[in-house]
Structure formats: C-alpha cells, structure tokens
Symmetry: C2
Subunit: 198 residues, 2 copies
C-alpha cells in the first residue's frame, strides 16, 4: 500500500480490506497509525542495514551504508518522509548505531563521536526527505523522475535572474545531474571534514 500510494495510501480501511478483516482488528497488533508507519519503516531500514556489508575501510563501509540508505529510500520514497523520527525510535537507533560504529572505526576522538555521527545521519535523512518530496510531487503530476526534473528545471530557468541569480542560471544542472553521485559527493564532503579533525 505504501509503495503504490505513498503515505496517504496506507489506510486502516484499505489495509483491513486487504487483510480481509475489520479496522478494529489491526488495533490489537499496533497502537497507532504512527506506530504502524514506524514499524514499516523499521522493516525497510533493517533490510538496508543488513544488506550493506561492513568490510573494507571505514570510509568505504560508510559510503556503502549511505548509498544503501539512498537506494532503499529511492525504491520506497515514503520511507524518506517517514524517517524524520525522534531519536528514541528504533529505525533511528539502528541507523545511528551503524553510522557510529564506522565513525568509531575511523578513529574519531570519543568526544566528537556524537557530533560526527549526527552530521552524517542528518545529511542522509535530509537527502532522503528531498528525494521523497520530489517523488511525491512527480507521482501527483503523473510524471516520472526525468520528466519531473525537466519540468522543475524549466521552472527554474524562467525565474527572474535579478531576484534569483543563482537558481535561474543553474537550471540546466538540475535536469542533468546524477542524484546518486551528488548524494555521494555530499557524503565525501563530510568525510573530508571529519578526516580533518583526526
């Protein structure tokens, strides 16, 4: 339901119909819709974390982990918007812990571990949210990714170049850029910054 209809596609009515039961039955197993969403999210996140191998250098492992998260969010865009969770929730704990382990292996001083792990997690979730927003807007307009970016690029290029000098000039890079490569470039910026304090 989530994959095909986004966050709005998951409904207790639709879910109970697909499970051939009443809406009340679901409440025996989960307390909440938010609970259900978090659990769905966690299933996806756990899968992505298990798939990312931890061999090689810490930098490589971090890049692979980040890319794994990127890909899984790309595949299930609703995860991107559902992953803005409080620090106490399980999916967040999982991500933080895995990132933190690599950070530790990198040799980051103990008192900087939190800050560095936090920066990486925030970046990953930020890109995820961005991806999700674009995917949802695309779905809403019935466009695929390329068409949607093409339309956004056209919109940017038509903006007043006095008011938005940067955006109006860079519109072409919007439609031709490689999301995945840019994501990784951002990870590398942060890794360079982290290496600088070791």
């Amino acid at each position: 339901l989530l994959d095909s209809g986004g966050e709005g596609g998951l409904t207790f009515q639709a879910l109970s119909k697909r499970l051939a039961t009443g809406p009340g039955a679901i409440y025996w197993h989960v307390t909440n819709k938010s609970d259900l969403l978090t659990a769905s999210c966690d299933a996806i996140v756990a899968k992505a974390l298990n798939a990312a191998s931890t061999t090689g250098s810490p930098e490589e492992a971090l890049r692979r982990l980040a890319l794994g998260m990127f890909d899984i969010i790309d595949e299930h865009p609703w995860v991107g918007s559902s992953l803005n969770l409080a620090l106490g929730q399980l999916p967040m704990v999982r991500i933080f812990d895995r990132v933190g382990q690599h950070i530790r292996a990198l040799g980051v001083p103990a008192e900087k571990e939190w800050t560095t792990a936090s920066a990486l997690v925030s970046y990953i979730l930020g890109v995820g949210g961005q991806n999700a927003a674009n995917a949802q807007m695309g779905r809403q307009k019935g466009l695929d990714r390329t068409d949607f970016l093409g339309e956004a690029s056209k919109l940017w290029s038509q903006l007043d170049s006095d008011e938005y000098p940067f955006v109006s000039g860079i519109a072409s890079q919007l439609s031709t850029h490689d999301d995945r490569a840019d994501f990784l470039a951002g990870i590398d910026f942060i890794l360079v910054g982290i290496a600088d304090l070791i």
Copy 2:
C-alpha cells in the same frame, strides 16, 4: 495555529473560526491545504533569509545563513517538517538561491556549484527535520526539550550493548550536547570538504 499546535493544529475549521468566516471562504484565496502550508513556510523562510546579513567572508555568511535557518526552525518546529518540498516550490528556491550565491562567492568551480549547494541545503533541511521530530515528540509527551532529551538518553543507555554498541555507549552525549553547536560543526565539515575542491 501552527506554532501552538504543530502541523495538525492548522485546520480549515479552526482557521475559519479564528477568521470569523466559513471554511469555504479560505478556498477563494488558496487552492489547497498543502498550498496554505507552503505559503506559511515561505513567509517564515523569507523572514529568516532577510534577517541573515550577507557581509563578511562567504564562509561567515554561509554559517550565519545556516544558523538563521536553524534558529527559525527551532522557533517554529512545524517549518522543519513542512520544508521537505519539491525543488519547484518557492521556499526551496529561495534557500537554494541564497546558499548558491555564497557558494559562488566561495569560488567553487561552476560545474560543482549544484552539487555543493545541494549538499548544504540537504544537510540544513535534515537537521531541521530532526529538530522538528524531537519537538513534536516532546510536545506529545508534554515534555520540554531538556526533559525529552534526558528521556531519550535514558532509553539509549538501556539498550543492549551487544546489539547497539555505539548508541548504548554514547547515551550521555545525547543529553548534554548542544544542538546549535553540533549543527554548526556539521556545516563546517561540509565547508572543509568544499574548500578541499577549490
């Protein structure tokens, strides 16, 4: 309505009551709830961007801009969750353009402008979303920020240290850290990475 009740606090019923009119009247001025939310967001974002002075070195200006966004989201947490907008929407265009101008002033090569600006914006929005999630969870439990982080910290410290070796050990840093300083540290990581390619 948004400041006091979060995203769920903005209702056409509540809004029309406060405006002493009917719910239908609002639809003459906005097409959508999503439209209304984006417009609210934009008002806040525009204020934050105008307040951030652009004097000094590009690095300083970027730090001030980022910090201005952080503070405005801290003040209005709903902005953090509403700011996962597609690239075509006005608040996003504004942020992107301002960040991009500073990036350009920094001397980043033209073909890297998009990538660098994108990384910074993603990071800022990621931290914003994180802040919003914590604020909302805190509100839901009736706790203030310190109490909420204290509770999350306790939760982390009680996790199984075999399953979550990093998170369970770093719990104390969670409750004592300075959000604002950590946010800025992340910005600096990225700025170091960007400086590396100039």
